[in-house]
Symmetry: C2
């Protein structure tokens, strides 16, 4: 099992992978990223990740150092060099080196970093038994301050959310926004099911448009499961029939418990249907 890091085209072992202190990607957290995975050794939904990367870049006025095709080629090259059976790739684009100051024009040359490590999906039992999640007190970054729709390296909000999650002995923490509506998890999107309808918070709640969230919505439509993107408060989550979270590494993961509310059966029937559809899709893709 190998870990490799590609920095601007040169591949390093992890202990030699370093970036300049003066890269604004470090000094200001001025960087964007994507997390991609393989299924059966093949990069999964790579084009969707590339599209989102481009969107984050546009929102931050960050120009990509390579074309999307070149980025994909470099990812493939690094993944092949590592040779893991299943892979996790973290692709980071930084603003680049510049002297101290908030002005993005101080940095002239963005850099790319590809971290390739063995994929560590949740153990199979989590899909059978579900996971415990926690509602955290800290609120998700507001769209008017730092839009969670951009996937950036300013992740302290998430780090603080995870501190609370861990204190609650939970697997994942779910944020509300300033208005009190449920938004998303620290590293996932969240769905509930009530009376046969699938519900997930809408983009304007302030959340990342997760690639797996998007796929889940498509699979639900194919399966003729009624679905609605709308705001809801935590209480509605506690009164739901089913609940699950989605992410690139977790796929569709059923929730067993939130704030002493226990869901059963595990997984719920709609969740199970979507998990099966995801599995089928990933095998076919």
């Amino acid at each position: 099992m190998a870990q490799l890091v590609n920095i601007d085209g040169k591949i390093y072992p992890p202990e030699d992978a370093k970036i300049p202190i003066f890269d604004h990607g470090f000094l200001y957290g001025d960087n964007i990223y994507e997390a991609v995975r393989t299924h059966r050794g093949k990069l999964f939904l790579l084009d969707r990740h590339m599209e989102r990367l481009q969107n984050s870049a546009r929102m931050l006025h960050l120009s990509l150092p390579l074309s999307l095709d070149q980025i994909k080629d470099e990812i493939v090259r690094t993944v092949e060099a590592a040779g893991n059976p299943e892979t996790y790739v973290r692709l980071i684009i930084t603003r680049g080196v510049g002297r101290i100051g908030l002005d993005i024009d101080l940095s002239s040359k963005p850099s790319y970093i590809m971290i390739v490590v063995p994929l560590e999906p949740p153990p199979p039992s989590y899909y059978k038994d579900g996971v415990k999640i926690a509602l955290v007190d800290i609120r998700r970054n507001d769209r008017l301050s730092l839009n969670p729709g951009m996937k950036t390296g300013n992740l302290l909000n998430n780090v603080l959310g995870y501190m609370e999650t861990k204190k609650e002995n939970a697997y994942e923490g779910i944020f509300c926004n300033i208005a009190g509506y449920v938004t998303e998890g620290t590293v996932s999107n969240v769905f509930i099911v009530k009376n046969g309808q699938l519900i997930t918070p809408p983009p304007d709640a302030g959340l990342l448009l997760g690639v797996t969230r998007g796929l889940t919505l498509e699979l639900a439509a194919e399966q003729k499961i009624p679905l609605k993107q709308r705001n809801f408060y935590p209480t509605e989550m506690l009164e739901a029939d089913e609940c699950f979270i989605t992410s690139t590494t977790k796929a569709i993961l059923p929730v067993r418990e939130v704030s002493n509310r226990k869901f059963s059966p595990m997984p719920g029937p709609i969740t199970k249907k979507l998990m099966d559809a995801y599995h089928h899709f990933a095998e076919e893709d």
Copy 2:
């Protein structure tokens, strides 16, 4: 004029100063910092910066890699090695190297970085003529999401604020919070004067307790200038008699113009009194 970077006790020229990709200070922006300056070659209000550093660390459950006295010694050593007439020091504490994941316990050993460069204060004419500032549309990070009272490396909110500032051809941009109250600048605190009273937003507006902000409040008290920390909307700023910003590198800098409102005389009488008091204090310290 020399630039030097001290990383965990070893001093490098800027081009050789690098940090590991796997430092969560980079991957998650999980780092805190302080910006310190010299006056007449002497580090100015260093103890206040150390106190605030400790406060940021506590809020993020980050343990400092050295005692405060050791940190001060290392700063002095690096500043002396650089030998600049006047110096700017950026002290950064990172979470340290750890594998990918939001959990702070994945990183066991925090690192420190001291960037020492020649001080670049605003030109003298700015203190005589004042500067133009802009009210930016993007809102300051909310206290419930990422408290601006912590001085962290998650600075994209400020970077985005500065983009707007530059578009307005202004020198500094001023944020409002989600509630619409004025909070602080992208790299400064803001004060207004109305009918002889000095007014600045209170901590619970969501702002950094600037060291120069604190000193200014003390100097105002000594000068028997009536002062009040309270919330105000941008309109009140436009109707003020005087306005100024404060920061470590800018000290007390008068504002000439905001959103087509022009202040005169320049600097205003209360602003001038405080600038003189600051100058006197800095010479004596």
